[in-house]
C-alpha cells in the first residue's frame, strides 16, 4: 500500500476489520449484559428486541467475540510481551499522564499501558467465556450444578464490570492521545505521532523501509 508522505502503516486492513468486529461485539455485549445486570438498565433490552431475545443473543455475541479476539490475540501477542522497560515506563506513569513522555523510556510498538489493556482483555474474555458457558442455561443447563452456576454468575458479572472499565480506559486513551484513532480507522499514523509516543517502533519501522 502506498503511504502518504510522512506517515507510517500501523495496522493492516485485516487487522482493522478484526479490531472493529471485536469492538462491535464488546459494545453489544456490554449493552445487552448491562440490561440484564441492573433493573435501571433493563430498557436496553429494547435494542435487541426485548428481554427474551436479549437473553438469547447475548451469548452468541460472546461466541463471535471469542473467535474474533482470538485472532487479534494471535496478531498482536508477540508485540505485547512484557519487557523491563515496560516496568520503568509504569514507574514514570505520572509524567506520561501529564503529557510528558520524555521522562519515560522510549516505547516500541506498544507501551506498558497498552500491554496491560491487551492482557486485561485477554484474561477477562477467557473468564467471561468460561463462566458464560456455565450459565448458558439454554444449552448447557445440565452440565453444571446450581452451586457452580452461582459462582459463575458472580464471576461473570465481576469480570464484565472489570472489562467495561478496561474498555473505558482503552477508549479514553485513544481519544486523549491525539492522532491515535486514525491508526485503527485508516491504518496510518503520522511520523510525529510515532516519534512522540512510539519512538523505538518508529526507528525500527524506518529501518525496515
Amino acid at each position: 500500500m502506498r503511504q502518504p508522505p510522512g506517515t507510517l502503516a500501523r495496522y493492516t486492513t485485516a487487522a482493522r476489520i478484526n479490531h472493529w468486529v471485536t469492538a462491535a461485539c464488546l459494545i453489544l455485549l456490554a449493552l445487552s449484559g448491562m440490561a440484564l445486570f441492573h433493573p435501571s438498565l433493563f430498557f436496553l433490552t429494547a435494542l435487541f428486541g426485548g428481554g427474551a431475545d436479549t437473553r438469547a443473543i447475548h451469548p452468541w455475541f460472546g461466541s463471535v467475540l471469542l473467535v474474533s479476539f482470538a485472532l487479534l490475540f494471535v496478531r498482536f501477542v508477540r508485540h505485547n510481551l512484557w519487557e523491563r522497560d515496560d516496568t520503568r515506563w509504569m514507574v514514570a506513569i505520572r509524567s506520561v499522564l501529564a503529557n510528558d513522555e520524555e521522562h519515560a523510556p522510549e516505547v516500541g510498538r506498544y507501551n506498558a499501558g497498552q500491554k496491560l489493556v491487551f492482557w486485561g482483555m485477554t484474561v477477562l474474555i477467557l473468564v467471561l467465556f468460561a463462566s458464560g458457558l456455565v450459565i448458558w442455561d439454554t444449552y448447557f443447563f445440565g452440565a453444571t450444578t446450581i452451586a457452580q452456576k452461582r459462582i459463575a454468575q458472580l464471576a461473570h458479572s465481576l469480570a464484565a464490570v472489570a472489562i467495561i472499565g478496561v474498555w473505558i480506559v482503552h477508549v479514553y486513551a485513544a481519544l486523549w492521545v491525539r492522532g491515535t484513532v486514525p491508526a485503527m480507522t485508516r491504518g496510518v499514523v503520522s511520523a510525529g505521532w510515532s516519534w512522540r509516543h512510539h519512538r523505538k517502533w518508529l526507528r525500527e519501522s524506518a529501518q525496515r523501509r
Binding site: L8, W176, A191, W195
Partner: protein, 301 residues
C-alpha cells in the same frame, strides 16, 4: 372464605417503584402435615389437572416411589419418598410433598432481572408472570430450595403458583382440595401456625419429641409450611434444607455489587473527563513531526 387480596402486589422483580401498601392484607399459608401424608399423589394429580400440565414423556423407574423422578416445568409438586432408619434401627417411611415454599424473602424474585416477571402478592404468594419471563434462569440460582425449572419448550421457568388463581376467588389450592387425609391444610398463616401447634402437641404425645413446625426464618418464613415429626433434622426429608438462606453469592451479585459496579464505572469515566480537563489532550507538536520525519528521511536516503 376470607378475601385474600391475591392481586395486590407487595414486591415485583427488578422494579424500584414502591407498590401500593395502604391495605392490610391477610397472610396466607399452606400447611403440609408430613405425619398425615400417605403418599397417594392425589395432590400431584390435582395439580396437573387444575394447571393443565402433562409430562411430555413417561419417565423410567429409578428405584423409588418418586414419580416423576423430579420436579419439572410440568410437575410443580412432587411426593418425595425417603426410607429412613431412626437411631433405634426402626424404619420410617418419610414422604414429603415438595414444591415452591413461597418464601417471605424470595431468592427467585431477588435474582430476577426482568421487571414484573416474578411478583409477591400481599398475601404472600410468590408467582411467576410467565409473559414477562425471559428465560435467563437467574431465579433457579436464587432459589434456596431448588424449585424453579426451565422449560426447553418455551425457554420460560415454571413452578407452583400456590393456585393464585384459585386463591383469588376464595378457593383453596388444588392440592389441598384433593388431599384425602387432610395432610394439606390451607388458610391464614396465623390459623395454620395455630393448627400446626395442635398437631405438634399430638405428635409429641405419641413419642415424637422433636416434632415441630418448619417455617424457616432464614428466608423470612415461608407460606408453605411443614409439620415434621423430626423437625430437628429437616434434611432427612429428601434434602429439605436445615437452615435455608439465599446464597451469599447471589446476595453479593444482586445486592452490594449493583450500586458499587455502576458507581465504579461512572467514576472511571469521570476520572477520564477530569484528566482531560486537567492535563488536556496529548497533541503531536510540529517539532515532533519534524523529528519523526527526520528519522524516516534518514532511512529513505
Amino acid at each position: 372464605m376470607a378475601d385474600f387480596q391475591s392481586l395486590d402486589i407487595r414486591r415485583r422483580s427488578a422494579s424500584t417503584e414502591v407498590p401500593p401498601n395502604i391495605r392490610e392484607a391477610t397472610q396466607i399459608a399452606k400447611l403440609i402435615d408430613v405425619s398425615r401424608c400417605i403418599g397417594c399423589k392425589a395432590c400431584q394429580a390435582a395439580c396437573m389437572e387444575w394447571n393443565d400440565l402433562r409430562e411430555e414423556e413417561v419417565g423410567s423407574f429409578n428405584g423409588s416411589y418418586d414419580n416423576p423422578a423430579d420436579l419439572s416445568p410440568a410437575t410443580w409438586t412432587l411426593m418425595r419418598f425417603t426410607e429412613w432408619e431412626d437411631p433405634q434401627g426402626n424404619l420410617e417411611w418419610l414422604i414429603r410433598k415438595d414444591g415452591c415454599m413461597h418464601c417471605g424473602d424470595p431468592g427467585c424474585l431477588k435474582a430476577c432481572p426482568s421487571p414484573g416477571a416474578i411478583v409477591q402478592y400481599q398475601n404472600g404468594i410468590v408467582d411467576f408472570i410467565s409473559e414477562n419471563c425471559i428465560g435467563c434462569g437467574y431465579c433457579i440460582k436464587g432459589c434456596p430450595f431448588n424449585i424453579p425449572r426451565l422449560s426447553q419448550a418455551d425457554q420460560k421457568v415454571y413452578k407452583c403458583t400456590l393456585c393464585s388463581d384459585r386463591v383469588a376467588v376464595g378457593q383453596e389450592p388444588a392440592c389441598a382440595k384433593a388431599c384425602p387425609t387432610g395432610a394439606i391444610a390451607f388458610g391464614t398463616k396465623h390459623d395454620m401456625t395455630e393448627w400446626a401447634g395442635e398437631r405438634i402437641e399430638d405428635l409429641k404425645s405419641r413419642g415424637f419429641d422433636q416434632a415441630g413446625l418448619y417455617d424457616p426464618p432464614g428466608v423470612g418464613g415461608t407460606h408453605v409450611m411443614y409439620v415434621l415429626h423430626h423437625a430437628d433434622k429437616p434434611s432427612i426429608y429428601a434434602g429439605l434444607p436445615n437452615d435455608p438462606h439465599i446464597s451469599r453469592l447471589v446476595q453479593a451479585w444482586k445486592g452490594v455489587m449493583k450500586p458499587i459496579a455502576m458507581a465504579g464505572l461512572a467514576f472511571t469515566a469521570v476520572v477520564g473527563f477530569v484528566h482531560w480537563m486537567v492535563a488536556g489532550p496529548n497533541e503531536v507538536h510540529p517539532e515532533d513531526e519534524a523529528k519523526g520525519r527526520d528519522v524516516l528521511d534518514r532511512q529513505d536516503t
